[in-house]
């Protein structure tokens, strides 16, 4: 199993296999059949599966979510794609009031097996309306499942599991993961929608990340390793539920927790992680759990501010040092010739 795919290729392969194996499935999103194929994730699929399986749609995020729900009630397995989370905000009503509750509010008579892919934008001046990361909203809503695959492997396996799941599943994909590669089996496989993954074993501090921030956690772990601190890195992968046992197991060993999320800190996913760990592993915690994420500020467009806006490995490592009460200095930043950090670090391309 040494084949490497990039994240967007893994998503494309997952969708191709779903479309090929399950005639009930179809794929819909603005530009899905178009020449650029939603950042490559749907490229070529319409040619292969036809215009009734891979579809464009009007710019009607609300209505088309209801439409997808209607088809799901009739036995289809739609994958609805939003090229930015920010656009899906128009679909909150059908997603939250209808899709999430349909199974419950009609007493279990129907299911609403939608999969909704939402892409978190970042970089190159995406700015306030093209880079929101609102997973905490969706995870607050009973009936939805929320997952955030980090690796190409999980992108494929979780997307397949999502489509096969009878519950509606929201899959958050961070744009900066799209070119990151990793080993991806060719066959169809599933990654469970309720389990975290340990990406690095360590004994001094637990770094838990969502999505892209897991990569920053790994890099933070490298930084820490260079000054003799051994971090456990947990890729949360799912928010509903959060894999609290995995967290408490780790914190039980390390006693220290830093959570790094792609969204705003305030009322964000990290709050739930900290609260859950505090509830269930209070005795194990030797210091307050710490959160890394976006400040309570809309995303600025200019790279001069965006670079300050997004926390990176150093901030995570620093929080770990704080938690450990360590006065050690982090090793110096490796030389980065780029003036701005508004495109992914080229050294982050995997494999992961």
């Amino acid at each position: 199993m040494t084949r490497q795919l990039r994240y967007f290729e893994a998503l494309r392969e997952a969708q191709a296999q779903i479309l090929a194996s399950d005639p009930r499935s179809y794929l819909i999103g603005l530009g899905a059949p178009g020449p650029t194929g939603i950042f490559g994730t749907t490229a070529g699929l319409q040619q292969r599966f036809g215009a009734e399986r891979v579809l464009d749609m009007p710019a009607s995020e609300n209505g088309m979510t209801g439409v997808a729900l209607g088809t799901a009630l009739m036995g289809r397995r739609p994958i609805v794609i939003h090229i930015r989370v920010d656009f899906a905000v128009l679909a909150m009503e059908p997603l939250v009031n209808q899709v999430a509750k349909w199974h419950y509010m009609y007493g279990g008579k129907m299911t609403a097996p939608l999969t909704v892919r939402m892409i978190i934008g970042r970089g190159w001046g995406q700015g306030p309306q093209h880079s929101q990361s609102l997973q905490a909203w969706f995870a607050h809503v009973p009936g939805l499942k929320v997952v955030m695959p980090t690796t190409a492997h999980d992108a494929k396996g979780m997307l397949i599991a999502a489509v096969e799941d009878d519950a509606p599943v929201i899959l958050f994909e961070h744009r900066w993961l799209y070119n990151v590669s990793g080993p991806v089996p060719e066959e169809m496989y599933r990654v469970p929608l309720d389990q975290a993954a340990t990406r690095r074993r360590g004994r001094d501090v637990t770094l838990a990340g969502t999505s892209y921030m897991t990569l920053e956690c790994l890099r933070a772990a490298d930084l820490l390793a260079r000054i003799g601190i051994d971090a456990d890195v947990i890729d949360l992968r799912t928010l509903t539920p959060i894999d609290v046992p995995a967290l408490t197991e780790s914190v039980g060993r390390t006693g220290h927790l830093v959570v790094a999320d792609t969204g705003h800190v305030q009322f964000g996913a990290g709050a739930e992680v900290c609260a859950a760990v505090a509830e269930r592993a209070f005795a194990a915690l030797k210091a307050p759990p710490r959160r890394i994420g976006l400040p309570h500020v809309p995303a600025p467009t200019t790279p001069a501010l965006a670079d300050l806006y997004y926390p990176r490995a150093r901030e995570i490592a620093r929080a770990a040092l704080d938690s450990l009460g360590s006065a050690a200095a982090l090793p110096p930043e490796p030389d980065d010739p780029r003036r701005w950090k508004d495109v992914p670090d080229p050294s982050f391309n995997g494999p992961y």
């Binding site: 439409v67 088809t71 009630l73 009739m74 059908p94 209808q98 509010m105 007493g107 309720d194």
Partner: protein, 307 residues
């Protein structure tokens, strides 16, 4: 009669959920449903009792739902605003305005994907057409020429707010043309007029010629939500109510049938007695049914198959 009974029994405070009666608007679902088969599908909004019953929805399950019982059509979890009866093709009602319009459009599309011949009817009120989601659904139905009949029950009010402050002076049916959807207006209190318009729209859908928007003029005789009248609120005049009361669709049609000799007094009485029996039975069934057990609270949040 069903709703009159509900209105009477509501005061017992055993139906503990917001309940929107359609007394005065009965002709519309009756005239529309006459053209539908059991495999055709219906979606509705908050004022859905008539739509449910006219499609053949189970009366016992509906009344039990209002009573919050485990035997209710949604096991008590939905109440009056979330009726469902899959056996007869009543796919669900939901109170967020216009929310089920796109779901109905999707059901029509999903049926087509599955190679099934089904017509979908979606009912909604005049206010629902002010929601953008309504327009998005119409547009897509037109693009795909889906077999959907959009039925707007224009009863002139949204709760207590008259149409004129909410919409410009043009018929709601004009929205059809804008979206490339066939459209027509008719008298919603004349079941034969409804029947005639619906006939064309359902046939059109069945032929594969695409969606139709039907606007029916009608009137709600009771208060917006609850079992009583609401003259005392003063947002509509006694004359207005009386004028529409005089055009009560059930009475009008009963009288017409009687005048035509199609319904004699005896038949009418028999029918009324039969209906009364069914209603009594449904109420008795509901009252005798158990409430959901505590372990049902967290059931069906996620499908048991999928987690």
């Amino acid at each position: 009669m069903v709703e009159e009974t509900i209105a009477r029994l509501y005061a017992e405070q055993e139906m503990r959920c917001p309940t929107h009666l359609c007394i005065g608007q009965e002709a519309i679902p009756v005239g529309v449903s006459a053209h539908l088969t059991a495999t055709d599908l219906v979606f509705s909004g908050h004022r859905s009792h008539g739509h449910y019953l006219a499609k053949g929805g189970d009366l016992r399950a509906m009344v039990a739902e209002l009573y919050g019982r485990e035997t209710g059509c949604a096991r008590g979890k939905g109440g009056s605003q979330h009726l469902v009866d899959l056996a007869c093709g009543f796919m669900g009602s939901a109170p967020i305005l216009a929310s089920t319009v796109s779901v109905g459009v999707g059901a029509a599309w999903g049926a087509r994907m599955a190679g099934e011949d089904r017509v979908v009817v979606v009912y909604f009120g005049d206010a629902a057409t002010e929601e953008g989601a309504f327009h998005e659904a119409m547009n897509f139905a037109a693009v795909r020429r889906l077999p959907v009949v959009f039925v707007c029950e224009n009863n002139l009010y949204s709760v207590h707010s008259p149409l004129a402050i909410r919409q410009p002076p043009r018929p709601i049916s004009a929205l059809g043309g804008a979206h490339g959807v066939a459209a027509a207006c008719g008298d919603g209190n004349d079941v034969e007029a409804v029947h005639a318009l619906a006939s064309g729209a359902v046939a059109r859908a069945r032929r594969g010629d695409g969606p139709t928007l039907l606007e029916f003029a009608t009137y709600r005789l009771m208060e917006h939500c609850g079992p009583n009248g609401d003259l005392e609120l003063g947002y509509r005049s006694a004359e207005e109510i009386a004028a529409w009361q005089a055009r009560d669709p059930v009475a009008v049609y009963r009288n017409r049938l009687a005048a035509d000799g199609a319904l004699d007094a005896a038949a009418q009485e028999r029918a009324a007695a039969e209906t009364a029996r069914e209603i009594d039975d449904a109420v008795a069934f509901a009252k005798a049914s158990p409430f959901p057990a505590p372990d049902q609270l967290a059931r069906f949040v996620y499908p048991e198959t999928g987690r």
